[in-house]
Assembly symmetry: C2
Homo-oligomer: 754 residues x 2
């Protein structure tokens, strides 16, 4: 369920230097000189194997029919993937979970006043696209886990439907109480839209794809081009992911066998109001029937209409009824046992289920995973033995709510906490730049791999290409950094794909990897995301599929084979400092803005500037946010800086002095693999205990978008200052524990070096 | 020919504090205590006179029929205005000039390939709008002073058609050589578009109104709302205004009698390629027929199409033939002789000609001028005698190219240079905030008047309302300044209305005044700019018409009656320092950008980031701009600061100590009125000698938009660094002369005070 909007893709790109060359002469990070030579040899062999033609064939096979959860082809795909893994010599099996998965029974969106219009809610086949006519197997367009409902009311346009949009509506004097809202897709996880609408008293929610966001505003529409046409609808889940992902009836435990399940009515992640997605063809008559104030500039899309916000005169009827069934999800799990440290696991996953044919999402990522796995099979035949256990996972049920990965991670939580050293995720893949987000203890590792992968379009390393992009097109501060910092920064993970349970719930250091930035498209979660579309408009010759196999496969090999697990804590420390600086600046900005606004209120400036013909409502006066005690965080940061620096020196000293393959590193590596766990807290984040990582979380009001140091940041953003201060202490404590764990590893290294 | 785009209106607003109260207890600036009391009395009487009902009646009369240059109703309006002036007891006459004014003979825009489409080039009548059906008298939609031509070629979309847009096209590898360009209105004087297109080798130019700029993107379209509908066309002149305005055949001299005229072929301001304006209804099929690269984000308007730039496959035929006639323009000039200083003139103007019915442009300003004049007539009857001569001017021929005002100013140049103390201009008027641009020696004066005018919507001073607007909505630095600086800043004048010859050619301190910011509209230069539109969507009850009469009338009275002409040089000095700081920052930015770009070229970053499917062309490597010697400007600034401060003290000391009406100030005021002339240079700006003011000019590539310290700024912007350095010296010399003139006035004041 990879997000597609450009604006969001750019945040992926937040963080990877132009001048640094390949480091072939130095040992690989985490390897002694001898191990490094052997590893380079295997990696070189590995990267020659992945085949674009095989990827193409696999995509055609896997996307030939709709393969959503519960569909026959979903199960057939799982069985085919299982057979593939087995054919490469892996210990593979399908692990099944039983989860709540509603499918559409009745769907109505109709305009009742001032004129009548019934939304088609249909995506028609396109003649030249051979799989677009499989109507009998396609899931109709809907938002999974919308509550059942039948509501009629005046319509209000709420832009992206985020809290800041409701603040704008407040300024216009427009309330959604008792109304049906229409929001456009984008700028957040879609489940945020009905959540915030319900918080504001709305009784129903319609979500549409504005052509400004993934339609003709960006280029020609399908089938002439890759962008969304007037009939394309974005399906998708609207569960309240920031509370917890996975089966809504079994939070925190694997949905297997006779596990205790919540009643549907008690599941907190199901929406409070009915929701349906529509195309812009269906949305235009609704939006055109609105009067009332014009939406501010930020509200205006690319339909050829004035974007009034209402309420009304448009009156709308919305009816959504689902079949609330328990369905099986089929995770395909394949293992390559480790030869020296089988109890340290490198876990690698990509989902296989789609909303319809899902060629881009997720098959473009799944075929890269499969080619990686096939190549590992080839290496095994050639005698390669990974030190650590490698686990390949083809997840089912990602689209509805990361079901397959979350239930598996919850079910195997204890083992994973004990054994998992890293989780590497991919999802839909595109053309362009390497985009990586994840744990910053892996930032240096990611950079070392990125220097060894060749960009298929430019024949330079993907690292160098990423540096060029940032140095030319980044924000000014990022441009400078891209030219001067040793490592390109990676972004922080929010949510929206299968890494979530690993990182946020279990505290396993995780990465999400893909290529993109040259791959505009508007078929996300529609019937047009299929083999025809992908092979005409996306990574048409599958060279970025190969690059993704090479990139992630190199990561897997290197992590599985390293003498010392290649975490590094200096980039992490640098990143945490950046986050805490951001928080201090955020608080100051909030203080300044509140003071300024209060002064303007005292001066009557809002009243003086309210146009009587387009009146605006002044905001309420507020207390200026208090100063918060950041000292515990500053002290923890100082400790973290020292610990990270000492560890870096120790590991460098150790690997450079070791002459043969290193021995006796099990204990050290076990300690290292546990470090990320120190960043979690069993009580979790305020009001959402499932989210236990204190550094990264999906935002409560963003979903996809990450909030870093989330307890503190959201406390400030949501004006819970006392809570923010408590969370500072909690984060500081976790960073101290983390530093202590690093110090213990440093001591072990120093001991081994003697 | 007031510009209408919001973006530009905001620059009007650049510069007017929340806390300062009315200064009723202090004498008016430039008045002794006794004179101030009398003046306040007259001003209070004055401001009670202007009548919204009379304005409404006058607008209905003046906009009843099309009244462009050469039309019967244009002459009838001039005669009616003359009769009004005479009825109020003024010494009034019509002064006629004979100017080149082409009108349409043949107009064709047609798409030949890939499909055929013939542009309508027609604005249909609207049933409820009673003057929209006067087709026989309406000037067809056209761009006056387009050269005749008949061209056929592939089409290229060039966004606003500015130099930076061609840089973007260069990056896309798209040339307009031998092509016909289509540009959208906005972001510049429209004459810039064919000029820059021809500089790049285009053979024809079509200009259209994108709904993003003044259509449905901003609100409901006419007749449901005020915005431009799919048939509305913006007429307008495309002369090369930044070379010189006025009759293209008589630069620098009044076009009267047997003045020597250039041949049309030798007139440098006539376009080099044929140009026609079209509606977005006519533009859509042309733009939709383009392929080639997508325009970058800045190119994308609000039509429901992907904005490809071409070239082609769209192939277009453009034919423009005009009747090239000499037509009369009728300036109506009315004088109220001064009682004490008849040789010091306060000149006040607004044009009366329109493109069609022209209710907003220019009649909404003309009716305010007429009500001012009528009120002056009433004051004269009550015994008021202005010290100085007041000249009311209703200009003809502004729309084609400021013809009436420019020819009059050129014809009377010697007298004006000797006598004119100020020129105050208005043009179309709207609803909202006081917007003033002009000579910064008048900034304090403008602020004193603005504090005495009551906003009709809010019952607070227009000054206070302006401060509220800036303190809430300005750029961060402007917001702070609005709260703390004694005077709200006024903007600098570019061009686009009748102040141009007075300020830029003659060096008469000038102001342009109007209300706006709450008056969105899209009828500019169309047949729908009429009484129906204005009375339904604009200043419908004419209260801002009255406010404009009160504002400018108070300025005229106060300037005509002051003991010491109310110039102040401190705000001017502060403003010049701001401009020279901007220039230093501009040069540094150019140096940094060039260095960065050269580094990126050396690193191969442009090639590394060029998408092979959407290839981009790297820019050329350039020399880093040299350092320029700003020392002469810094020294002149230091002198100006001292002179301005001494003058401010001297005038304050003088007026506060004078007990009765001041005497013997003729010499002083004569010196003061000449100060602005010191800012001119008879050689003018590089390559455009008509423009003699060294501080303000319309940009060579902006037209409307002002370039301050234009010789230096455009030298840097256009990479003529040696010229920029020469111009620094020239500006510094002018500022020294100006400071010396201020010092002489200060010495005279100190002598008078003894």
């Amino acid at each position: 369920m990879r997000r597609v909007f450009l604006a969001i893709l750019l945040t992926f790109l937040t963080l990877l230097p132009l001048s640094a060359a390949s480091h072939d002469d130095e040992p690989l990070f985490g390897f002694t000189a001898a191990s490094s030579l052997a590893e380079r040899d295997w990696e070189t062999k590995f990267r020659a194997i992945p085949s674009p033609q095989i990827m193409r064939d696999s995509m055609q096979r896997l996307s030939a029919r709709p393969h959503h959860v519960g569909s026959p082809y979903d199960k057939q795909n799982a069985e085919w993937i299982l057979a593939q893994f087995k054919s490469w010599g892996f210990d593979a099996q399908i692990e099944t979970f039983d989860v709540l998965f509603p499918t559409p029974k009745e769907r109505v969106v109709e305009l009742l006043e001032p004129t009548r219009f019934v939304a088609k809610l249909q995506e028609p086949p396109v003649a030249q696209d051979p799989t677009s006519n499989q109507q009998s197997e396609q899931l109709p367009s809907y938002n999974a886990y919308s509550i059942d409902g039948d509501v009629t009311g005046q319509l209000v346009y709420v832009n992206y439907g985020l809290p800041r949009d409701y603040e704008e509506l407040d300024r216009l004097g427009v309330s959604v109480q008792g109304k049906i809202v229409i929001a456009r897709y984008g700028a957040s996880w879609r489940g945020i839209k009905p959540k915030v609408a319900a918080e504001h008293g709305a009784i129903g929610c319609i979500i549409y794809s504005d052509p400004r966001d993934d339609g003709y505003y960006h280029g020609d529409v399908f089938p002439d081009g890759p962008m969304r046409n007037e009939n394309g609808v974005q399906r998708g889940s609207v569960l309240d992911m920031p509370i917890y992902p996975g089966d809504p009836l079994t939070p925190g435990v694997g949905a297997k066998g006779d596990v205790k399940r919540l009643a549907i009515k008690d599941a907190p992640t199901i929406t409070k109001i009915p929701v349906l997605p529509i195309s812009y063809g269906d949305a235009k008559p609704l939006l055109a029937a609105l009067k009332g104030p014009m939406g501010p500039e930020s509200f205006r899309g690319a339909l050829p209409i004035p974007y009034h916000v209402g309420p009304g005169p448009a009156k709308v009827h919305l009816r959504v009824i689902s079949n609330w069934d328990i369905k099986p999800v089929y995770d395909v799990i394949a293992k390559i046992p480790g030869s020296e440290a089988p109890d340290q696991w490198v876990v690698r996953g990509n989902h296989h289920d789609g909303w319809v044919n899902g060629a881009e999402d997720p098959i473009s990522g799944q075929i890269a995973l499969l080619e990686e796995a096939r190549a590992m099979g080839e290496l095994l035949k050639q005698g390669w033995k990974p030190k650590r256990t490698i686990i390949y996972c083809a997840w089912d049920g990602e689209e509805p709510m990361l079901l397959g990965s979350t239930e598996w991670a919850e079910y195997h939580a204890d083992e994973l906490k004990q054994h998992a050293a890293i989780y590497i995720n991919t999802d839909g893949n595109g053309r362009g730049y390497l985009e990586v987000e994840g744990s910053h203890s892996l930032e240096k590792f990611v950079n070392t791999v990125a220097r060894d992968i060749t960009d298929p379009e430019k024949n330079i390393s993907v690292w160098k290409r990423g540096q060029a992009q940032r140095s030319l097109r980044g924000r000014p501060e990022d441009r400078k950094e891209a030219r001067t910092r040793a490592d390109l920064r990676i972004g922080a993970l929010g949510s929206g794909s299968d890494y979530t349970a690993f990182l946020d719930h279990l505290g396993v250091a995780s990465l999400n990897v893909g290529y993109g930035g040259e791959d505009d498209g508007g078929i996300y979660h529609s019937i047009y995301d299929d083999f025809y579309w992908f092979t005409h408009f996306a990574d048409t010759d599958f060279v970025y599929g190969r690059a993704l196999s090479q990139t992630v496969g190199t990561m897997v090999l290197r992590f599985a084979d390293a003498d010392v697990l290649p975490y590094d804590f200096s980039d992490f420390a640098d990143t945490v400092r950046k986050y805490s600086d951001e928080l201090k600046a955020l608080l100051k900005t909030r203080q300044d803005e509140t003071r300024d606004r209060n002064q303007a209120l005292d001066d009557g400036a809002f009243n003086a500037t309210s146009d009587p013909r387009r009146p605006t409502v002044a905001p309420a006066k507020e207390d200026v946010p208090p100063f918060l005690n950041f000292t515990p965080l500053d002290n923890a940061q100082a400790m973290l800086d020292r610990s990270a620096e000492r560890y870096s020196k120790a590991v460098k000293s150790f690997t450079s002095r070791a002459t043969g393959p290193a021995q006796g590193l099990q204990g050290l590596n076990g300690m290292l693999a546990q470090t990320e766990r120190r960043l979690t807290n069993p009580e979790g984040l305020p009001r959402r205990p499932w989210y236990q990582h204190l550094i990264y979380a999906p935002g409560f009001y963003t979903g996809y978008g990450s909030k870093t140091l989330p307890g503190v940041r959201e406390g400030i953003e949501e004006k819970r200052y006392q809570e923010a201060e408590q969370q500072i202490t909690r984060v500081a404590k976790a960073l101290q524990d983390y530093s202590a764990a690093i110090d213990a590893a440093t001591a072990e290294l120093e001991k081994l070096a003697r």
